[in-house]
Symmetry: C2
């Protein structure tokens, strides 16, 4: 508490953001006070604009500022393969690699009983709708290798099993550049389970 | 780059803040997108309000939303001792301790030739003005024990020496809880130099 009400309120606002502690929030609040009126305007408009312009793509639920997101709108993308991810950041990570030519489906969350996030909170209904006609051949469940990620993957695999669509998941194993002596037991045992023939 | 212009602009705005890298900025931008319209309003008003309401106290240059800051306005504070600090956060740190009953002077920066910050950029003129009448007995230079902090302290000591006011500085030494084996050489040699009799 600084004893200056409007500064405390601003600090509070920064402290609400994920991963920002009280000390950092205070540092950020102080640095904003040094902004020129034009910089203040640029910062606050950026916040409002992003919120106003960005919505979910009606098909894949990814974030977009257009009617359909550029990936769903791209005729060159293979609509028969859907990669299911936790959030828009995962889409960006995959797009950076440029090796995936299918489309995505963004869940906007992972099942987490600890945080009270049930399957209802995820964009799963929208995924089922996309599987209604028979254009989709394969659903790749690409959630992270965390407890929530695996629970969600398992749930989706069971949810889709009656539909006859092929459901796959990402390979787990030693990461590129990873030294065996630093790999944990679970990673090692998965790398072993998932071993492949030399081609 | 997300490919969504307004999201990139918002990420850019967060990345401008001190200590916020690109990855963190993107995380913050995404979390703001999840805000409700009311939360967006609360965040942007907090930024604008803080900037509009907070200014420098005309006496000590500390940040305040009143005409005079509460410390300068407090008749119970000893106006004859001025503690000179780098910024408003240092004032808060001292006020938390509650052992100092004098007043402050906030420089709003430290001399740093590397970053092009010369003495002109600090609120030193305002400090000299406060020393014009003879009410001030002592100036405690309480800048940090960094290169910039010490350079600034040295500069102020020389600047004030013709005025006949007593200029002191904070004690340097082993911090509370500090183990000798982890103290660096400079800290140790200062602790030795500044040794005191048992009382």
């Amino acid at each position: 508490m600084s004893g200056i009400e409007s500064l405390d309120i601003l600090t509070e606002q920064f402290a609400r953001l994920p991963g920002i502690g009280r000390k950092t929030a205070q540092r950020l609040a102080f640095s904003v006070l040094k902004y020129s009126p034009e910089e203040i305007e640029a910062f606050t408009s950026a916040i409002k604009d992003a919120k106003e312009k960005i919505h979910h793509c009606p098909t894949c639920q990814n974030l977009t500022d257009r009617e359909l997101c550029p990936i769903c709108a791209d005729a060159g993308r293979d609509k028969s393969v859907i990669c299911v991810v936790e959030d828009a950041r995962a889409v960006m990570a995959f797009e950076k690699v440029r090796s995936f030519r299918g489309v995505y489906h963004v869940l906007h969350g992972l099942i987490s009983p600890m945080s009270g996030i049930t399957p209802d909170a995820l964009c799963l209904r929208e995924l089922l709708l996309r599987l209604e006609d028979a254009t989709v051949r394969e659903v790749i469940v690409a959630t992270g290798a965390t407890i929530e990620g695996e629970a969600t993957a398992m749930y989706i695999a069971r949810l889709l099993s009656p539909l006859g669509v092929k459901v796959t998941r990402l390979a787990h194993g030693i990461p590129y550049g990873g030294e065996l002596e630093y790999a944990d037991e679970i990673t090692l045992s998965r790398a072993l389970e998932g071993r492949r023939d030399f081609e």
